[in-house]
Assembly symmetry: C2
Homo-oligomer: 303 residues x 2
């Protein structure tokens, strides 16, 4: 790795400019005012591009019904990334014991029980159960924004345990959703390139777990079910996925009985912009003070 | 409870107007486009009111370092509300067992371990550790926005398990932070009344756990450490706290060694607007379609 692409230097620079704020756990940083301004401006730009698409806005909390995780098969594909909310239901005596242990730095996990909520691993997960039934003619389109959790502590500032995605979800026939996915793949590429980023698209696969996961990843690539728009941020050889485009076929719709207007099982696709990754790509590419960014980039974000 | 203040009818009305979207777990609803528009407009109004205060913006994820929960004594006061993130660190065979249990609807909690992250119970919690050391002269002021978790499933649409607060935190001498708190108590009251809400302020206490908690609540009230701005939403007799104003004295600053410019232990206070509660108070008071809200309310939110 050259000095130009040092993970440590990028992290240090982001901290020195108060763009991210250390919190003592990797990938759970606070964000500073300028970082948030860039995230907000980029998100506004996405909204501007999509403004005539007729998307329905839905916003879900960072938590999802645990049944959704169980039913989507998330634990078969990504057991290592999942997060489950545990809470306390005991009485006063046990509460005292638990608090005493926590204060003494001793383990207190045994006093907690698994709740009905998991951390949302993908922003579109909570949407699918709400779509059960018949779609209108032409299908439907949703706009989402939310916080995802993945258990992957890392020194890379682009690999967060808690991060935001701006997503769109298209539901309809296979033809409709693939056409829409292809349109957005071009839109995403154009958008990132218009911001002066060295972006390119490629077929991709998800980080499936274990040996069985390797076959799933090969399958996914062969069927071209996942594309990414990549930008060099922490490495020239391994550019960072900043947008992701996924064709789920009937994976979600069959589980929740989502039907097209003719009663056939629907197909779904989603795309997501990794808001923190795109902000960091901009800082890495153009410098840590947006006032000095190239005029054409500034004009695009602050129109 | 009169029909005018029926919890069930309010919930049904919010769902019927797609302001909230059921997800199968109480208090974890999705939010619709119009709901989000009202939340955003109200939050913008708060920013407008605070624009000359010189607050520093910080944004933290919905998760907080578990050490912060342990060190703040959260488990002594609110063990019943806490949320802790559990994840999976096992190998392939165990992952298969876990996934099989989850798919069969059997318990799978035993395969998870407690991570370094908890769910943020109060938006200002992650801020305090970042303030360790000496403050500038005059202290400091922070603006925050975030998602809080509290384990309290409830049929009341105003009592959520996952919700947003817009917060400000003042750090300085006791005199500085109390003066600031008093100023915002009046600002908060004026703001909600200007939106046509039947708001009043009152001294309040936190929902401390157990019998010991009752004494803590009485103490807190006697010392006037907590105030709320209340609006009737689900009951005339028990109005809903929509803003909360807390004087922490040196509770947080002593734990993290936050000092005034003279080296004395600082004092802290925070205030928070419950964004979902205020949106629901507006819908309950003015009706479920903002286009029909009183002109002066619309003009204030859509200037």
């Amino acid at each position: 790795m050259t000095a130009e692409f040092s993970v440590e230097k990028l992290y240090d620079d982001l901290v020195a400019h108060q763009l991210i704020v250390p919190v003592g756990v990797q990938g759970a940083y606070g964000r500073g005012a300028v970082f948030e301004e860039v995230v907000e401006r980029f998100n506004n730009l996405v909204s501007e591009i999509a403004k005539n698409d007729g998307a329905i806005t839905r916003l879900f909390p960072p938590l999802v019904n645990r049944k959704v995780i169980e039913k989507h098969g998330y634990l078969e594909s990504f057991p290592h990334l999942c997060g489950s909310v545990f809470s306390f239901n005991g009485k006063e005596l046990e509460a005292k014991q638990m608090a005493a242990k926590a204060a003494a730095g001793e383990p207190w996990a045994e006093h907690l029980h698994q709740t009905d909520l998991c951390l949302t691993p993908a922003i579109c997960y909570p949407l699918y159960p709400t779509l059960a039934g018949k779609l209108p003619e032409g299908g439907a389109l949703y706009s989402l924004l939310g916080w995802a959790y993945r258990q992957e502590p890392s020194p890379e500032p682009t690999r967060l345990q808690s991060f935001r995605m701006r997503e769109f979800v298209r539901v309809g026939t296979a033809e409709q959703v693939v056409e829409w996915r292809d349109m957005w793949l071009q839109r995403g590429l154009d958008l990132l390139q218009s911001l002066g980023l060295d972006a390119r698209s490629d077929v991709a696969s998800d980080p499936f777990f274990g040996r069985g996961g390797k076959m799933m990843a090969i399958n996914q690539k062969e069927q071209k079910l996942k594309f990414e728009v990549l930008v060099p941020v922490i490495s020239a050889e391994n550019p960072t996925a900043c947008c992701s485009f996924n064709f789920h076929q009937n994976h979600f719709s069959s589980k929740w009985d989502i039907q097209t207007d003719t009663g056939a099982t629907a197909n779904t696709a989603c795309l997501g912009f990794g808001l923190e990754r795109i902000a960091i790509a901009l800082f890495k590419t153009h410098g840590f003070d947006p006032i000095r960014w190239p005029t054409e980039v500034r004009r695009r974000l602050w129109p």
